[in-house]
Symmetry: C2
Subunit: 700 residues, 2 copies
Amino acid sequence: MTSLPDIDGLLAPKSVAIIGASDDPTRIGGRPIAAMLRSGYKGRILPVNPKRETVQGVPCYASVADLPEAPDAALIAVPAKLVPETITALGEKGCKAATLFSAGFAETGADGEAAQRDLVALAAQHGLRLLGPNTLGVYNVDIGYYGTFSSSLDTGYPLPGNIGIASQSGAFGAHLGALARDRRLGSSILMTTGNEADISVADAIRWMAESDTTQVICAYMEAINDAPAFLAALDAARAAGKPVFALKAGRSAVGSQAAASHTASLTGDAAVADAVLEDHGAIVVRDPQTMMDYAYVASKRVFPKSHSLGVITVSGGAGIVTSDEAERIGFPMPAMPEAAQSRLKEILPYASPANPLDCTAQALNDPSLLETFTRAALEEGGYGAILSFLTYVAGSPALCETILEATRPLREAYPDRIIAFCALGDPEVLRRYDEAGILVFDDPCRAARALDMACRLGAARERAVRERPGALDVDLPSATPNEAEAQRLLGEAGIPAAPQDAVKSAEAATAAADRMGYPVVLKILSPDILHKSDIGAVRLNLGDADAVREAYAAIEEAVAKKAPAARIEGMLVAKQLSGGVECLMGVSRDPTFGPVAVFGLGGIFVEILNDVAMKPCPFDEETAREMILSIRGAGILQGARGQAPADIDALARMLSKLSRFAAGAGERLVSIDLNPVVAMPEGEGAFALDAVIEVEEGAK
Amino acid sequence: MTSLPDIDGLLAPKSVAIIGASDDPTRIGGRPIAAMLRSGYKGRILPVNPKRETVQGVPCYASVADLPEAPDAALIAVPAKLVPETITALGEKGCKAATLFSAGFAETGADGEAAQRDLVALAAQHGLRLLGPNTLGVYNVDIGYYGTFSSSLDTGYPLPGNIGIASQSGAFGAHLGALARDRRLGSSILMTTGNEADISVADAIRWMAESDTTQVICAYMEAINDAPAFLAALDAARAAGKPVFALKAGRSAVGSQAAASHTASLTGDAAVADAVLEDHGAIVVRDPQTMMDYAYVASKRVFPKSHSLGVITVSGGAGIVTSDEAERIGFPMPAMPEAAQSRLKEILPYASPANPLDCTAQALNDPSLLETFTRAALEEGGYGAILSFLTYVAGSPALCETILEATRPLREAYPDRIIAFCALGDPEVLRRYDEAGILVFDDPCRAARALDMACRLGAARERAVRERPGALDVDLPSATPNEAEAQRLLGEAGIPAAPQDAVKSAEAATAAADRMGYPVVLKILSPDILHKSDIGAVRLNLGDADAVREAYAAIEEAVAKKAPAARIEGMLVAKQLSGGVECLMGVSRDPTFGPVAVFGLGGIFVEILNDVAMKPCPFDEETAREMILSIRGAGILQGARGQAPADIDALARMLSKLSRFAAGAGERLVSIDLNPVVAMPEGEGAFALDAVIEVEEGAK
């Protein structure tokens, strides 16, 4: 079925043993059997229970050893203390994949954690892959396989379809499955990974990326335990053209705390995780409704090349509300070409056919208007997505056929565009549109947001995925270097500093200043003083040699007083640049994702507004430029307030170089701070005025 | 029924004449009759049609004059050209309210506008109030009155309930009605006002504020044509304890354009409208879904005093996602008291009962856990709202009764709190919770947002509505004054400037500077130069008398060159203040709402980030303080970046005074700009460093 035979047995088994099988279809050991019997699972069901001849009418085996074959999958529903011997028996039988419903492991504390580690080791001895422990299990709708005891099935079974769901949390994953079902969205797979002792959400994504039945992937994570595997799985999904909608929980203080106490894992910094997931093509969402809205649109597999929206409406009011939302989210709604507008106005004189195209309530009396307006929007407007606000009109059984006749030929003629209705009324009527390939929403703003996602994705696919540039060859010192040394290292990597010199006396300082021209900056050089300004060890705006001499003495005095133990390696004289825009660049090593670069404007933009862009290292200049332009305050760099535009090219070059430097610096790099970086006017470059490279001491 | 007899006849008539009545229940003149017959309207239906004896089985009259009585309401469904004679006939008959379905008036251009004005005048002669023209009409669910031809009824009738809807747009209003119906929310009134030649959304709100059957008001507006009436209606609704959810469309460029071409009206600036509506207690929403979510919660009429959320969950994952959303929207989720946590941990050792309170899947086996945890959250947590994530568990018919038994006693014991479920499954099962007073949502984040609204509203009700302070007595000059004069006027009103003097020579300037102490600022005084810096007519940082003299000459030269025609009234010497935070304050007269005050931080905060707060004038100091603290950059005033906190009290005093000055300045006041205002450290005051008062020239 896929090229991932290691977990094929888990997700699409031809035979399944249930250890701790129960005749009672409401018990954990009984639910999966009842579900598979109900849904016509074609594989072999092999109950194991020493006390019974049959279970729910299926012949039962006394022990794993007595099974007539090595099952593709085993479901383990025995108390925690019996799990090790069950694993051994399964391993000896030749089973390769087991789902561990049993709880009482890492989620309960240190003892449980140790027991869980032992289990993994035991399973590994036999080449047995483990799902769980503390998992609700898996289902595979296509083959009727229900290796799960989720009570979500009590309120109905999933409909078949192409949406796959992977969730660390069992109940939340099952909630997503039930949400899809209640909205009548078809799903393929639900896999909940629980404690992730072995198999993780990453494995689930990787498997679904290769599966024929899954085309859309929904993933819920509390922690990402193996980042490289996770990102590789996202890359595989992107390569397969399957969008991944990712909900990474734990962004709030309360949420993070709850996450830590929940599935025995610590969550990383949410903003970093979002940046990294998006960098690998995932679409980050924050709530189940948005996830399902997006999955619904994506399930139709139409991702238009044009990121633009045309709105057809029978209500001017709805057109306005939809336009307002489109503007808010940055979904372009260009006007129809003038010629098309004139033509439409001839057909319907009171129409306002710019965009929104208001075909008024007149469309009720004359449904050909709907066809005319929609065709014009597709053909002449060229919009990636068309959203028609038809409200209760479309929901009317009397008008359904007419509206379908008007829309179906267009649906067929423009297979690469999205056509969606905002419609209310009889669910059976609305379903007919959906079956005809027309998306149906009850809220025009939700519809606009979901269509925006699909068009953005379609437009992004038109651009090749960027090759990552290579890491630079970096020879990191064995400990945190002083600023001059940091600037030298960065300079070698092509990250420019302002003209500067390291000096050891006031005379050398004035000589250097004379050479580079005034005004200059003077600051202490010491590996022990990271925040120089705080102790008065930086002097700005020194206009002549006297000022430099005076400053030299003052800094010496301040350091002697405030940091008497610091190792002093002299001072740095640097040319003071003026007329630029202050920015900051930095890198910090995220414990999960490695070095992540940050860009922002200086001062309040970062400190008060948290207005920064982040990307995992390394990345190219084009990516760096996008980061720079993505911050809210980007207007300042582009020449707001009558200023000359800043040298964004130079900033992008510098930021990309910094990311490649960080990628090459290895695991001992803790952080880099270039603060401030001054971006001079266009063509005049960008320079780091201060640089700190923090290095973990130890063997190089 | 209400104390608004003028439109009682329109909204709750005891008799209704249909002019242009049709036997065909799908025609405009037939639909209202069919709907009223179907829904058992108890009033008298009086069809008028010269060609028929009966209409849909109801006796018909040949003309208005032939009617057996003066009808409370008339529905006019005749072509535009027949409308005037119909109005006259109705007026002569003694009818006091008519709904004008007919289109072809102001929405079609200048001719239509003139015809519409004539109609209003004609109707006024007879004391006849008009709804429309170009309206879908009105319905009143309670009495089965359907004075509307909306085809939304083809997909079902509204359920009775306490949600009233007023909408300028017919189709959008009917969409809201259908949305409520499809979500099984009960409604009382739908009134669509179309061209608003006479009766407006404001009248509808005012009527609903007094009506017994309506407790929640949803309002959709494209333009607010009579602001005082509209705001008075909002005040009436607030006084009656009825929340108004207001959707004001036309905030985007595209949206505003569409609005203008739609109901023949121009929309004001969206941010101003939002600020004014909120100032009068309305809750501004941007999409129909949010409006209905809010109306749903409000329809239960529970508005907790505590703005806090307790989350009970059977899924750790869902708890995290909900906490994340609560943090994002600023909905506090304080932790449970330690003692309560310990007690709950004894009952369920693996629970994490801080908040969210995770009672784990164990609650499935032992529903008493749900009761214990919920009771603890209500009693010991004291949360205003409880949201229980029960997902498909609650949707199960098998568990519904158990869950109801666990929750009903708590619902009764805590009538002043909200209890909500996030639940999926059988709609009939979910309805039973709703009937028991438990709110039901399918998405936990949407639920959190709606509960947040209700708790904010409840908390706000605990505070008295603030009395507006009086307008100041202002003697505005007959034309835009120069800066010295502006500062003097403002100074008299208690709005302080930095120490300053108007001078007419360089000698007088140096004398003044000597008196106030250096450094000083020097700038031109001219009523003709509003943007002094732009032409070099402001000099900062003058450190001694020589610098002042030099600057005086330089400004004279600059003005002679760049603004040779300007009337020059000397220069202003002002003490240069340093060490403060730069802010700006201003007032502008909105064409709809009158003077609106604005506060922001200086520079990029306003220019790039549009980070401002607005309020209609006048307002008190407490309100001013809230405005100041509501901007995103407020941290800067509170002492971010190691700075001393700024004198926010002084800013608030100044801003409130400014609002009272603007309120007293009358209609000739165009705008006031105090930019910059410098807020000195706490206790040291705030001062306007520049002041422009723009006055419309004309008779005082």
